[in-house]
Symmetry: C2
Subunit: 313 residues, 2 copies
């Protein structure tokens, strides 16, 4: 039976570490990290996400604030708010919840957030730094995926990794992070012709296609590690709605380890956002150049997450 | 026999197109594109490269200027010059020749060049835009590789592409550009365990490992297209020095097409620099936001390079 990677447990350990870092920072006379969330309009799902993020802040001792703007806010008004927050010394992380209303250009808005406060890691400067392995803020979902992988993979060097899906927010950044760990990385997508065969050679599969139960048992070699990033609501055979991932979970029990849906990648996202906020607060308060040599791998203290000296394999 | 892709010929066609664009821009009352090259110290090879770039400018009608600074120039002095050039309306492209002296932090200096004048495409913002496929300036060697590929590949969609080497200036950007063209992309490197087998499945191989004659005939499947980015000076069996690439050229005659070394990728680099300078001048003079929706593929006019209606396959 495959090990089921418990995303909630890994996320809780990361939260513990984040809380300890906040406490240490404040005890040392540093600032209490602050996250500001901007929500434009009244999208129901966005409201739920924002509430969870604010609640997460409370749990680890991050100061949070929320700007709720009406749906008819102009782009210039939103940019003015971001400019003000960029200059606010008490704000270390700025998160502008997407999707934004159609009259606002998302790329312009996300590009206006100061790179060192861009805790979502979507600013071109952070994307560029991730691409070149030169520090910067790593987007939450890819960072969460790497931490889940690290909980079960001892040595990444030379492993064959296959990423299914090439989105800007998951597929491409995960591929670059895996390359940074010296994996041989294949990025596949809707135009890939022999995907089952390619996947079946992988030591690591990251399924981020958004295609329910795309990855069958025969696509997974015995002993592989499978991270399932997809989450889709479908109608089950019993006529009830259920959430499924991109992987046919029941068919991959010959894998070494697999993430469940829900309870795998999902819970990591907010924990990584909180982690990023604290890192941003440290970077800003140390007046450390944002293009410093920090590496995302230096940031989370593995021993705190997985236990001192614990074998990760 | 494999078609030998003549980089000099493709570069000459791109130069013709660039010259025509310069003429059209000036005729329409726009600015004459201007490139400024900064050279710190007296590295011999760098001097040769800079001279070639300046000469290339003359050929296509780009105004060029050169700043030669002594080897003991401080980082602050260099940054002050870049700041001045960033604000100079007659300068559309700024190129700071590397390597820089050891007391200067290359990343800081290259990151100080305004992204829209960064004709080398090394600024994190341009790297990020390339990663997300959202415009920006594409670095010269990767752009040259794509143009050579386009001269012999009709349809990239679904092709298996293998990139050997994961450097920030060639391997990673080429991989992202191939992904953008809907190839299935595998990035391999020194830690890849079964490279011959992986390469042997590829429709497209881009060899950028800097390892002389690494790629043997048996690594290349019949009909593949091979781009050789390596260039190393070795001692031949006859006791004379010679330049070789990363591919055993004589052994891959069953390929569909292959670039020679020298005369393949090399000649494309300066032609792409000149092309980038004109694109930068256009972007700046049109006061087009640098995060506009332009795509590098829109920029070079294929019909000019390869002939109107010519089959590329």
């Amino acid at each position: 039976m495959a090990e089921v990677i418990d995303g909630r447990k890994v996320a809780a350990k990361l939260d513990e570490q984040t809380k300890a870092e906040v406490d240490a920072l404040v005890a040392a006379g540093g600032p209490r990290p602050g996250l500001t969330v901007i929500l434009v309009g009244d999208d129901g799902a966005s409201q739920v996400y924002v509430r969870r993020k604010i609640k997460g802040c409370e749990k680890v001792g991050i100061r949070s604030s929320e700007h709720r703007l009406p749906a008819d806010t102009t782009q210039d008004e939103l940019l003015a708010l971001i400019d003000q927050l960029n200059h606010d010394p008490d704000v270390h992380g700025i998160l502008c919840q997407v999707p934004l209303p159609a009259h606002i250009d998302t790329r312009t808005v996300l590009g206006a957030i100061s790179p060192e406060k861009d805790v979502d890691g979507f600013h071109p400067v952070n994307v560029g730094r991730l691409s070149t392995g030169t520090g910067g803020i790593v987007p939450c979902t890819p960072l969460g995926i790497m931490l889940l992988l690290e909980s079960v993979v001892d040595d990444f060097v030379g492993k064959d990794a296959v990423v299914i899906g090439k989105s800007n927010i998951v597929g491409k950044p995960v591929a670059l992070l895996l390359l940074d760990r010296e994996c041989t990385v294949t990025v596949t997508h809707i135009y890939t012709e022999n995907l089952p065969e390619i996947a079946a050679k992988a030591d690591i599969i990251v399924a981020a296609a958004g295609a329910p139960e795309l990855v069958k048992g025969s696509w997974v070699k015995p002993g592989a590690v499978v991270i399932d990033v997809g989450i889709t609501r479908i109608m089950g055979e019993d006529g009830k709605e259920k959430l499924v991932g991109d992987v046919k979970f029941d068919e991959v029990q010959h894998a070494k380890a697999v993430t469940p849906v829900p309870g795998g990648v999902g819970p990591m996202t907010i924990a990584c956002l909180l982690h990023n906020t604290v890192q941003a607060a440290k970077t800003i308060s140390e007046a450390k150049a944002p293009n410093g040599d920090s590496d995302y791998r230096d940031a989370p203290d593995r021993s705190l997450i997985y236990g001192e000296g614990a074998s990760l394999d």
